[in-house]
């Protein structure tokens, strides 16, 4: 039942609001609201019980193995949350002077330095609020760089066909045309196709490495050489940075600009869909264009650099310059794992992925790229199961929920049929990985013996499979007063 449906006229969580209700007669009548908005009228306990119960209907990292490929669902240390929520940090107004922000600024400055070192980039801005905003900032900097040189012919961004959807969407938001580059049968970018595609119209290429098919592109240096020789720049999508943290640096691979997803690699919470943080790092030639604000350190202390200090900046992406609370969590995480911990993240993420892949292969599942080493994630294709048992990837995914596992990413990347993209992360134990293999094996057995059991899954969750077509055709996007009874019809 919706919180709105529990509402009773005249009931209120009285203690939460101010006791008095002063006159507002100076606000002209014509600009005032005529009727109160239909917000819930419930007691404090009703609200607490309702939202606690809703929380219990979620799978989460804290409750379930969550091997959602490309999302790096690793454990979010609790200290990161409690320390980022200390009153001095939480209560600070964004426009408070730097005199009342040296503690925060020290953390942000240190985080910039850590991110520079671990990515091999020349400078970092923490401003972007999530990966997609980091992509926008990165491509906008590529645009600014070419324009500053008077190179207006570079109107095209290259994107591999396996790329995240955000890549082409970000390039288009920056005013570019997108050209797709095919992926070879070995999982690496098709180098010949790339060489044929670059030219004086190439502004740059957006790459994820390891790629979304879960392998490290062995030709990365040749790719960098080809794009740079044509006058283009290289953009690194940091979605898969967890695979190489402390082992390989995007700056050393030849990337000119990168974004990092701190809610992936630096373990800040995913929050049911954010907030994230998507800092960008750049090589020296792109440094003037970084989004503001930046944090600088001078003798007098730490200070913000804003538009007036950075005239060539691509500008400001949010009103107050970023998801500070998330940046603090990432900083705390970085300090907790330290220098040696960085490399360990990649080591154990890779160990877990390769172990899980080996176990699934032993159990008879088909790897999409069996000749390749897995990075921190890998793809299993269920096309044989779909053909032989009539049970597809979505069915497997839904049945996994019954077994207490969040499903891996399904049907992405699009070029592998019936695929599961599986990313266990470094924080899962061997027992948890073994449990997942046992569940997959049991589901395949069911697919063979009692396929309806799998096709009808899930059976044990608050709802069974939902009608997405109905959701899109008979749009019901908001509750309205009086509509409760007929909404279910």
């Amino acid at each position: 039942m919706l919180i709105q449906e529990q509402s009773r006229t005249g009931r209120r969580a009285t203690a939460q609001a101010p006791l008095h209700s002063p006159e507002v007669a100076d606000i002209p009548e014509g600009l005032r609201r005529r009727a109160r908005p239909a917000l819930p009228e419930v007691s404090e306990m009703q609200a607490v019980r309702h939202y606690t119960r809703l929380s219990q209907q979620n799978f989460s990292i804290d409750t379930h193995f969550y091997p959602l490929g490309s999302c790096t669902m690793k454990y979010n240390p609790r200290a990161c949350n409690s320390l980022a929520m200390l009153p001095g940090f939480l209560g600070r107004h964004p426009l408070a002077p730097e005199t009342h922000g040296q503690g925060l600024l020290a953390c942000l400055f240190d985080l910039q330095e850590i991110l520079k070192a671990v990515t091999g980039m020349h400078a970092v801005s923490l401003a972007p609020s999530a990966g997609a905003q980091g992509e926008f900032a990165g491509v906008a900097m590529i645009r600014a760089y070419h324009r500053a040189r008077g190179d207006h012919a570079r109107t095209e961004i290259l994107v591999p066909d396996a790329a995240h959807g955000t890549n082409p969407a970000s390039a288009v938001m920056c005013g570019f045309k997108v050209r797709e580059i095919p992926t070879g049968s070995d999982g690496d970018v098709d180098l010949d196709a790339l060489r044929a595609a670059v030219g004086p119209q190439t502004a740059g290429i957006m790459l994820t490495n390891p790629s979304t098919v879960g392998v490290f592109d062995r030709n990365i240096q040749a790719i960098a050489q080809a794009v740079h020789a044509a006058g283009g720049l290289l953009y690194y999508d940091g979605a898969n940075l967890n695979a190489i943290l402390g082992q390989v640096r995007p700056g050393d691979m030849g990337f000119d600009v990168i974004h990092m997803n701190l809610h992936k690699t630096f373990s800040t919470p995913h929050g049911g869909g954010g907030p994230g943080a998507g800092p960008v790092g750049v090589s020296k030639r792109l440094e003037p264009y970084l989004p503001v604000p930046l944090v600088a350190h001078e003798d007098a202390g730490y200070l913000w650099l804003t538009e007036s200090d950075r005239p060539e900046s691509i500008g400001r992406l949010t009103a107050f310059g970023g998801n500070m609370g998330i940046l603090l969590r990432a900083y705390i995480y970085a300090r907790l794992i330290g220098r040696e911990g960085m490399g360990r993240v990649a080591e154990f993420a890779t160990l877990n992925a390769n172990y899980l892949l080996a176990r699934l292969q032993e159990a008879g599942f088909e790897a999409a790229y069996p000749e390749r080493r897995a990075s921190h994630e890998f793809i299993v294709t269920l096309k044989r199961e779909a053909r032989e048992f009539g049970v597809n990837t979505m069915d497997f995914a839904k049945r996994l929920l019954d077994y207490g596992y969040h499903a891996p990413t399904t049907y992405f990347p699009l070029l592998v049929p019936e695929c599961l993209l599986i990313e266990p992360t470094e924080t899962e134990s061997k027992e948890d990985l073994d449990g997942f293999v046992a569940a997959m094996t049991a589901i395949r057995h069911e697919a063979q013996e009692t396929p309806e059991q799998v096709k009808g899954a899930p059976h044990s969750l608050p709802v069974r499979r939902l009608d997405d077509v109905r959701a899109a055709r008979q749009l019901d996007l908001a509750w309205t007063p009086g509509a409760s009874e007929d909404a279910h019809g």
Partner: protein, 468 residues
């Protein structure tokens, strides 16, 4: 090893299963010359224990102090009920991701549907998305959306008031400029502080516009004549985009009621709904619209539907608008948004209800009005504009603003937002706000301190900052 559970036996067994003799061997496809050498990471400090990082962060948080805040300017210090963040940080909300597997995410999905319902109730519009990054980026998405959605004109011009938050105007430019849209700034009336229709008329000239941005209250706290502005937009084939404060909407006319036809799109900053100030983020942007534009709405949207047994449930819907399906043709590149903040906002609104929010709004307004009386009694301090305000007040000062603010900050009072740098013609001027959190004593302390500083100007040496 922090957060890594592997025992030596585990590692040995796992390597044996894979068929390699070391973890290092798993990196054998990476060109050797790309592997990072240890010195490259020297700038990264060694690991701290939880106790050590706690000590460090507590020291740093203390440095930032807890000054008395009279700054609003787009971020407002409100009381947040204890239950809001206790529930929002439950692991089941905190550590879940975007609800792609609907059946395993009904908690988040239902909550988002409730949020959408609350936002449509507040704005008087038909549909809401599940959040954008913040108010300023939400405005940028609203403008892009309006230009796509307006079928009456192919114009790429958008009118924005100069009395809109300067940081919103800068963000808007940064995000939309690469797509070639043109922003035309509309000046405010120097006496009223509002944006009169005649100024829209003058700024528009003879060319068509795709949209008009209407800000209620505007950056100076002034109440705009929103009905006339909305009607003007519609009479000129433009969509009306409302930029509103959600707490103010508990008292003020909702965008859906503006003018004869209502605003088409409403957006703004959801921070006043249970989000701590946190130096500027994470907050959440909201974006609502009329039903006819819902397919142009960017971001996640949750719909109610039925499961196989005919039981109601919730799922992400209209995903064909989004980047993971439409790629380069998506309505936006947005993917991760501000889910956890929306969780907090939803619980916050459920606890306060319409009456509670109305009381918060009325108390903020009364406190700011009272602050205006106290400060207005200081010689040389007077309201900049004569029109009615809501919850925020622009004042003319008799002395340079930046110096006064520095001196106030040295006494742990954040006196407001200096209007001079963005509006040189108003200088020296200050934008103040006193939310429901400020007591009469605190208002008096501010007024007394400001009076003393104005009466006895000192050359302050408060630029010093202490480091941790």
């Amino acid at each position: 090893m922090p957060f890594i559970p592997h025992t030596p036996d585990d590692i040995a067994a796992m390597l044996a299963t894979i068929g390699v003799d070391s973890i290092e061997a798993l990196f054998d496809e990476i060109p050797a010359d790309l592997r990072v050498g240890a010195p490259a990471l020297n700038a990264i400090p060694n690991a701290l224990s939880e106790m050590e990082i706690t000590r460090l962060m507590q020291a740093r948080a203390r440095t930032d102090g807890q000054p008395l805040c009279f700054i609003g300017a787009g971020a407002y210090e409100h009381h947040i009920p204890a239950a809001v963040w206790q529930i929002a940080t439950r692991g089941e909300f905190y550590s879940a991701y975007t609800p792609y597997q609907a059946e395993a995410s009904q908690g988040t999905l239902q909550l988002l549907y409730e949020f959408q319902s609350m936002m449509t109730a507040l704005t008087g519009l038909d549909a809401s998305n599940a959040s954008l990054y913040d108010g300023a980026s939400a405005l940028a998405e609203a403008v892009l959306m309006a230009v796509r959605a307006n079928r009456q004109t192919k114009s790429q011009r958008v009118l924005i008031p100069r009395a809109l938050h300067p940081a919103y105007r800068r963000t808007l430019r940064a995000i939309i400029e690469p797509q070639g849209l043109e922003l035309v700034e509309v000046d405010f009336d120097p006496r009223g502080g509002h944006t009169p229709v005649e100024r829209l008329e003058a700024a528009a000239g003879s060319e068509e516009c795709a949209a008009v941005v209407i800000n209620q209250p505007n950056f100076f706290g002034i109440l705009e004549a929103v009905d006339e502005l909305t009607d003007w937009a519609h009479a000129h084939k433009a969509l009306a985009i409302a930029v509103v404060n959600p707490v103010a909407l508990a008292l003020l006319s909702p965008p859906g009621d503006w003018g004869a036809k209502g605003a088409d799109i409403a957006c703004g900053e959801a921070q006043p709904l249970g989000m701590p100030l946190s130096s500027g983020g994470p907050y959440a942007g909201f974006l609502c619209c009329k039903q006819e534009y819902v397919r142009q709405l960017p971001g996640r949207i949750v719909g109610r539907t039925l499961d196989l047994d005919g039981k109601p449930g919730f799922t992400l819907t209209l995903q064909a608008r989004e980047q993971h399906i439409r790629r380069g043709k998506a309505t936006s590149n947005i993917c991760t948004n501000q889910g956890l903040l929306v969780t907090a906002a939803t619980i916050h609104m459920a606890l306060l209800g319409a009456e509670g929010l109305e009381r918060v709004a009325a108390n903020c307004h009364a406190n700011t009005r009272r602050l205006g009386e106290l400060l207005g009694a200081i010689p040389g301090v007077e309201p900049l504009f004569e029109r009615p305000v809501f919850h925020e007040l622009a004042l003319r000062l008799p002395a340079p603003t930046a110096e006064l603010l520095r001196s106030l900050a040295a006494e742990d009072i954040l006196g407001g937002f200096d209007l001079g740098p963005d509006y040189p013609e108003l200088d020296p001027a200050l934008l103040v706000c006193a939310t429901e959190m400020r007591t009469e004593d605190e208002l008096r302390r501010y007024a007394d301190t400001l009076a003393r500083l104005i009466a006895t100007p000192v050359t302050s040496s408060s630029g010093q900052v202490s480091q941790v």
